[in-house]
């Protein structure tokens, strides 16, 4: 607590000066996150990976779908030709493919999580705050959705709409929001009984205003932690679907597909498995460390 004493000389000085800037809980959490070495390094690695995946494919001499007709076979790294990580079995540059795959994987991770976040927070906050029949209805729907097997759900979508890149985001997002909704609902239920919610109602706030102004900002901390844990989950899910042949289509690629391809050549050419797998593992590790760091930084016990 950093109460400022009204009658102290310090207080008088403040009175004379202009407005004092406060330090919000977010700023506090940010400070604690930066102090956490593992989380901080993870954050830097992730940002770097993200930038490299987006920018990399434009600056590399080879594109992800370009076949080096001089070497239509797996070739070890060759700096003179610009194949820094070598090529795959059909002569495409592995680095370009790994970076492009990273772009797709991260995009699926982030977009699908955003879809999950939007639906999950809305449904969870409304169910938790409004309660009663609305709560019952929404949560039974969530239970129902849980019961549908994911692969089955995705196959049906594929059959109905054909294989589609965007569909993948939607399919994964439509599954991932369920847990998010449950978490947000639980948090909202505890928040709903806080006195500041009653105070907001007594000062004339409508239900929508209270949800937007008070509930959502206060569940965001927990949601952030869950988001950082959902992104790697989604990346894994995408790899799994691609592995089954339900995901991205050639020549487009993702880490999951690269790993799938590499696995087939494990014995003759382990490089094609190890490189994308290493990228993906590092990313997943970093997201998990970041999630842990966020959880510590946002821990309400520290407030």
């Amino acid at each position: 607590m950093t109460g400022v004493n009204l009658s102290s000389p310090h207080g008088e000085a403040l009175k004379a000066a202009g407005e004092v800037d406060g330090r919000s809980l977010w700023q506090d959490a940010w400070r604690r996150l930066l102090a956490n070495r593992a989380a901080f390094i993870s954050l830097i690695v992730l940002v770097t990976l993200g930038v490299v995946s987006v920018v990399g494919p434009y600056v590399l001499p080879w594109t992800y779908d370009q076949i080096d007709w001089d070497h239509v076979e797996a070739m070890p790294p060759n700096f003179a030709m610009g194949h820094y990580f070598g090529t795959d079995s059909v002569g495409r540059d592995l680095l370009a493919r790994t970076l492009f795959g990273g772009r797709i994987s991260l995009m699926v991770g982030i977009l699908a999580t955003t879809v999950a976040l939007t639906i999950g927070v809305t449904v969870g906050a409304v169910a938790g705050f409004v309660g009663g029949k609305v709560d019952q209805l929404l949560m039974r729907f969530v239970d129902l959705m849980y019961a549908v097997p994911l692969t089955f759900f995705v196959i049906i979508l594929m059959v109905l709409f054909g294989r589609n890149f965007i569909l993948m985001f939607l399919a994964i997002g439509a599954v991932e929001w369920l847990t998010m909704a449950r978490i947000v609902r639980g948090q909202t239920l505890t928040l709903r009984n806080k006195e500041f919610i009653d105070a907001a109602r007594a000062s004339g706030g409508s239900t929508t205003a209270i949800i937007i102004r008070h509930i959502v900002p206060n569940v965001l901390g927990v949601v952030m932690v869950y988001v950082t844990l959902t992104i790697p989950q989604v990346i894994l899910l995408e790899s799994f679907l691609s592995f089954l042949g339900l995901g991205i289509q050639e020549p487009m690629t993702s880490w999951g597909m690269l790993i799938n391809d590499g696995a087939a050549e494990l014995e003759i050419n382990p490089r094609t498995l190890i490189i994308p797998a290493a990228f993906m593992t590092v990313t997943l590790f970093c997201f998990n460390f970041l999630g842990d760091g966020l959880r510590d930084a946002l821990d309400p016990k520290d407030r």
Binding site: T2, G3, N5, S7, S8
Partner: protein, 324 residues
Amino acid sequence: MTVLDIRDLTVRFATHDGEVAAVSNVSLSIAKGECLGIVGESGSGKSQTFLAAMGLLAPNGRATGEVNFSGMNLLTAGEKALNSVRGNKVSMIFQDPMTSLTPHMKVGRQLAEVLVRHRGLSAADARAQSIAMLKRVQIPEAERRFEAYPHELSGGLRQRVMIAMALLCAPELIIADEPTTALDVTVQAQILDLIRIAKDETNAAIVLITHDLGVVAGLADRVAVMYAGRIVEVGDVRQIFKAPQHPYTKGLLACTPRLDDETGGALLTIPGQPPNLQRLPPGCAFNPRCAYVMERCLRERPALLPDAAGGLSACFLTNAQGAP
């Protein structure tokens, strides 16, 4: 005869923003049969003083000084020695009995175990003595309550069970930390009565830690007032209430609304905010809120010395340091 003698006790806590002294250079002694009231607001260090004395500090806390009890220094005594003292020669009663009773164990078993462990009684004897003790603290249907779980009892009954547990081993010292704060007024009156009876019957020394001046006025023989981790005034209960010396004690008495006050005018107040232990002012910690603050108070910290009223106080105006 002195039961507990605290010398120069300092308690520091390691926190995110550096080290904080919760208790600074506190010296106190309690005699047999005496009830010492410790008064202070939150953050005054009143609870931490005695938690430290009993070796019950949070892991990030560190205590220095001396706490002499039955021939040993509790601060340097090992965990084994402390365990033989706690619950046996010293009993503690806390504000919330629900957190001090194990929820999944019947209260009877918790009581009897104390006797088995510290007094080496047989199970049957322990049971008989525990029920007798429950009756002594006026718990109706003691035999039935012996078989109850803590959550089946009301707040008042739970606090009675805690007092029964505290009295079981005939302790030399009872430390009661805000024993009635969580209770309703009518139940508080019952519990205070019970402590009063226990005090008369057992001759144990009692430390009564509270923020409620009324509770102290009714029970204590001597009172110590704490502010920002230090004792600012100690004295006989009648003297403290009739002729408080330290400006903080005066302020505290003046700003407490009283049931017997018929005038109903504006209350006198102590201005400002409670002290922030991380940013105490130099000199006397009370100086930003004190009505009598002098230039000297901003530089020097007054020591706790005898004053004209016969007690000790830490203020340049009231004790021997004040004379030029």
